[in-house]
Symmetry: none
Subunit: 209 residues, 2 copies
Amino acid sequence: MVIRYPNGKQFKSNSNEMTEKKKRIIKKEKDISFSNRGKTLEDEINDTNIYYLNQQIAIIHKKPVPVQIVKVEYPSRSAAVIREAYFRTPSTTDYNGVWNGYYIDFEAKETENRTSFPLKNVHQHQVTHMQQVTNQKGIAFTIVRFSSLDRYFVVPFNILYEAWTTMENGGRKSIPLNVFETKTFEIKPGYNPKIDYLSVMTNLIVNEE
Amino acid sequence: MVIRYPNGKQFKSNSNEMTEKKKRIIKKEKDISFSNRGKTLEDEINDTNIYYLNQQIAIIHKKPVPVQIVKVEYPSRSAAVIREAYFRTPSTTDYNGVWNGYYIDFEAKETENRTSFPLKNVHQHQVTHMQQVTNQKGIAFTIVRFSSLDRYFVVPFNILYEAWTTMENGGRKSIPLNVFETKTFEIKPGYNPKIDYLSVMTNLIVNEE
């Protein structure tokens, strides 16, 4: 139901619940139009991928956000405008490509948490996809940024999978920082490339074999 | 016109010719309204990729169409609606993934032409991307369907590139059918998978090395 003021303007509740919802909406809008926590790491990785591309080190791209397009207008003398579309659930991870004959496939995740990485940041379809990629001898991993610590880790799929199955069996719902420090590969952020994640690929390949 | 029996039941012709003709008309209408030339090959490849995925033969997905999202609405209790967005030019090909440790990357093209494949169907960014993939030891190719002939070919990147540079140097603007017949790999369409393009990968790898 829409409530209107006498001047015709729409009434908007200021209750806390509403504000929380608004915040979520604004956050969501930011996700799409500007940048948020996720976008920051995304930007860094995109910059890194451009560096790899220009230096002919690897061809890795972020996949576009999948949308279901329902209505498109074609104004004369200008570009087609999508007027109705919906977000679809992706069936894969966000990044893939090729490096030196290897198929590379990964997801990028950030957390503000200082002591562990909550697994709620990871989705079932991503785990399933990375499992399939691993079965096909591709290299699957997750780049995790602990934003508050400014630390970056490349997490081999088998480490993520171990934690994921532990959680599914009723165990811990996060990966503690010390597991990152002992079982994954830390990347020191640089100037260019910003996040040189390919520098640990050799370790990752040895780790998986 | 609907013809009815005295009891009100609708008259239905039983003549074979009519039924066959009707079927063809219905088939044609379907072709036009629900799918177009491009869509048809895309559907066949998507079905093939689902088969590969289910059979654990390969993990190959079509990339989403890249769009620049400008405006999103969040109606309460329902999914976010994109209200303004624009198509962006892709920087890669449409399909990629991993098969048995190999990075696979390709584009799908159709032509109604019966004697040659016009290179205007191919875009510079696709050629550039496939060149980069080849340099990184990935497998790049184009699946070309001659729709009027119902013939499918897997075209190794080097063959496409040869024709592309010839055109750029003022030469022929298409690839003649006989080049397809002698220098590329024909796929006979099957039931499931429909277009078993991975069946020629071994030839393609030998061809590129």
